[in-house]
């Protein structure tokens, strides 16, 4: 699916088994101008991506943000499945957890997670997502722009917020 230049909010897939937290993360992401799909399990996330479908990407997802503690497939399990998939390994994954356990955090980061957010997730956390998305935009023009802007972190934060990707 090719994105027209005029389109495009980044599409974030949010995964959390708790309804309250799903509602929260959805609002945080929408407030930050992302398109959001929220699902309640790792299995549903993989189905949505089309991973069960001969590894063919059904939908374009720019980032996955997932809770760590979920019944069945944990956020870490989901992370590993994404990173081990040839179609999806380049999608940045962020993990959220209500428990501040250093060994857990390290394991996730070493497992390929871009960021680890402690719950409750704040708008300031969601602001940290944009650089991970900008790194991976498809056209060279966008890539160059992103490189130019990774000069001063403070300055770029304000710039990213104004940057209209539509």
């Amino acid at each position: 699916m090719v994105m027209a230049a005029s389109e495009t909010k980044f599409h974030v897939l949010a995964v959390d088994d708790t309804l309250i937290d799903r509602k929260l993360i959805e609002k945080l992401l929408k407030t930050s101008s992302y398109q959001v799909t929220a699902v309640d399990s790792g299995t549903k996330a993989l189905e949505f991506l089309g991973l069960n479908n001969n590894d063919h990407q059904d939908v374009k997802v720019n980032l996955i943000i997932t809770d760590y503690c979920m019944p069945g497939m944990t956020g870490y399990d989901l992370l590993r499945k994404i990173k081990e998939s040839s179609s999806f390994k380049d999608i940045p994954v962020v993990i959220m957890s209500s428990d501040n356990i250093p060994s857990r955090i390290n394991r996730c980061l070493e497992g390929g997670a871009e960021e680890f957010f402690l719950k409750p997730v704040q708008l300031s956390d969601v602001n940290k997502l944009r650089p991970h998305l900008m790194k991976r935009t498809q056209t060279n023009v966008n890539k160059r722009k992103a490189m130019d802007e990774i000069v001063s972190p403070d300055r770029t934060r304000a710039r990213y917020n104004e940057l209209e990707v539509n």
Binding site: T18, I20, K27, S98, Q122, L123
Partner: protein
């Protein structure tokens, strides 16, 4: 009561809730997320918290009545309650949950029962206070006021 008096009462009441530790910064975050596209966001999230909590408190009571107490199960419920209370900023409820989890780990039934009682109490307090806060908000809106003030 006129609008100005209502607004003053609202601010004083809300301040006291923070001051007494019923609510923390996370509640403020929720309010900041509310906008004209989602004017009932805070009430919706808080309502989910009420539903969730009541279910969990019943589960906890049931689990602690069993002959052979399943502490893992209890811990899982308390973990959920801790999470949801933290997500809305219900600080005192969250704090009791932390103590509760410690008693679960120790498999201390007395401690758990005590915590259940405490968490029920804190939950009921914060529920009453939030409902009063929302009522005041409604009165202000009816009297022609708006938020943020």
């Amino acid at each position: 009561m006129d609008l100005v008096q209502l607004q003053r009462q609202f601010v004083d009441y809300k301040t006291s809730l923070y001051h007494e530790g019923f609510l923390d910064e996370q509640f403020t975050q929720l309010q900041e997320l509310q906008d004209e596209n989602n004017p009932d966001f805070v009430v919706e999230v808080v309502s989910l918290f009420f539903e969730d909590s009541e279910r969990l408190l019943n589960e906890l009571a049931r689990a602690l009545e069993q002959q052979n107490i399943d502490y893992k199960r209890i811990d899982a419920h308390v973990h959920q309650l801790k999470g949801s209370s933290s997500s809305i900023g219900a600080q005192r409820v969250q704090k009791v949950c932390i103590a509760f989890r410690n008693y679960c780990e120790e498999q201390n039934v007395e401690g758990c029962l005590k915590c259940l009682q405490q968490v029920r109490h804190e939950y009921s307090l914060v529920k009453t206070k939030l409902e009063s806060l929302f009522q005041l908000e409604q009165q202000i809106l009816t009297a022609g006021g708006s938020f943020p003030m």
